[in-house]
């Protein structure tokens, strides 16, 4: 891992973003009775922004561990795409090194890394790993601080749980590039509400996501085929 000035310059927007998101995530985590050290450990090991926010929402909802696993797996599927795209740049590394590298791929570190690999011929995996891992430390420390501060500040629960919804709304809007995506999201939401009356263990989130995304995918594949 090679941590230098260029890495810091390129990663600065990620540090700032993760600092504020991490503080928010820690504060919300405290509402789900996560201790600061637990928030830190989760952030280092899982290192997944939206994954952790979703996990907290499900903890607050007393969801089953199985339901948390499947939902998290589905949110993380996009990492498969990132790892695949990153593969040509790390294929000459040893297996343990590439495993660690892939573990530090997030939406943001992927975007900056792939851009650096394409445009900067001096960019290598050593700097790439530093760019992936250093934001993880910022993220984990911010989670720890947010979680510790929330226990001390004791913010109103009702408002804090709504902020989690507002956060999902903001993340969701980033994916709404066309009408098909908006319709898919709304359909997923309505189906999720309906399913919540009939399926146990909070599995309605997973089921609604699977059914609606599969139908949307099938419709698009069929359209391309015609």
């Amino acid at each position: 891992m090679h941590f230098n000035k260029k890495v810091i310059q390129r990663a600065m927007p990620i540090y700032i973003g993760y600092l504020f998101l991490g503080l928010a995530c820690g504060i919300l985590g405290q509402q789900a009775h996560i201790a600061p050290i637990e928030a830190f450990i989760m952030s280092i090991l899982a290192y997944s922004g939206s994954g952790q926010f979703i996990c907290i929402a499900m903890l607050l909802d007393h969801a089953s561990l199985f339901s948390i696993l499947i939902t998290n797996f589905m949110v993380s599927l996009r990492y498969m795409f990132f790892s695949t795209a990153m593969y040509p740049h790390i294929k000459d590394c040893s297996l343990p090194y590439s495993v660690v590298f892939a573990q530090n791929v997030t939406d943001e570190t992927f975007a900056v890394n792939i851009d650096s690999f394409t445009k900067d011929k001096d960019w290598d995996v050593e700097q790439g790993l530093a760019l992936g891992f250093s934001p993880c430390l910022v993220w984990a420390c911010a989670n720890f601080i947010g979680c510790a501060a929330a226990a001390w500040l004791n913010p109103p629960t009702e408002l804090v749980s709504y902020i989690l919804v507002a956060m999902f709304l903001g993340i969701w809007s980033g994916y709404l590039h066309d009408t098909a995506l908006l319709v898919t999201g709304v359909a997923g939401g309505l189906l999720s509400v309906l399913l919540s009356f009939v399926v146990p263990f909070k599995l309605h989130i997973v089921l609604a996501t699977l059914i609606v995304s599969a139908i949307a995918c099938w419709l698009e594949v069929r359209q391309i085929g015609e």
Binding site: A32, T84, K91, A166, L169, S192
Partner: protein, 109 residues
């Protein structure tokens, strides 16, 4: 260790299995081969479906039942904030707009 800690560490373990498998599987199995086209199309629809599926029950349901009363502040705050959030597609805007509308419904109306 308390039941609550056990639950949280269990959830952490699930998170690790979920994220780790997605990040590492392409390296170990695909060894650089391309993902099939249908998989990429499917991938495009998962985030929007998952966030819809998370948000709607949160705002429409209270204690497991539909709630369209004015006391369901989150529902009305979301309906008011959505056009702004949709237009700007910005996370900070969503946080500010959502919080402001929530407080208006809770403390003013």
């Amino acid at each position: 260790m308390s039941d609550e800690s056990l639950y949280i560490y269990g959830a952490t373990l699930m998170m690790v299995i979920g994220t780790f498998s997605c990040r590492e599987l392409p390296l170990l199995l695909l060894r650089g081969r391309k993902l099939p086209d249908w998989f990429n199309i499917w991938l495009k629809y998962i985030p929007t479906a998952i966030f819809g599926a998370l948000i709607f029950p949160d705002i429409f349901l209270k204690n497991g039942a539909l709630d369209f009363t004015l006391q369901n502040y989150g529902l009305w705050a979301t309906i008011c904030a959505f056009p702004i959030v949709y237009k700007t597609q910005s996370l900070p805007v969503a946080l500010v707009a959502g919080t402001v509308f929530f407080c208006i419904f809770k403390y003013v109306i």
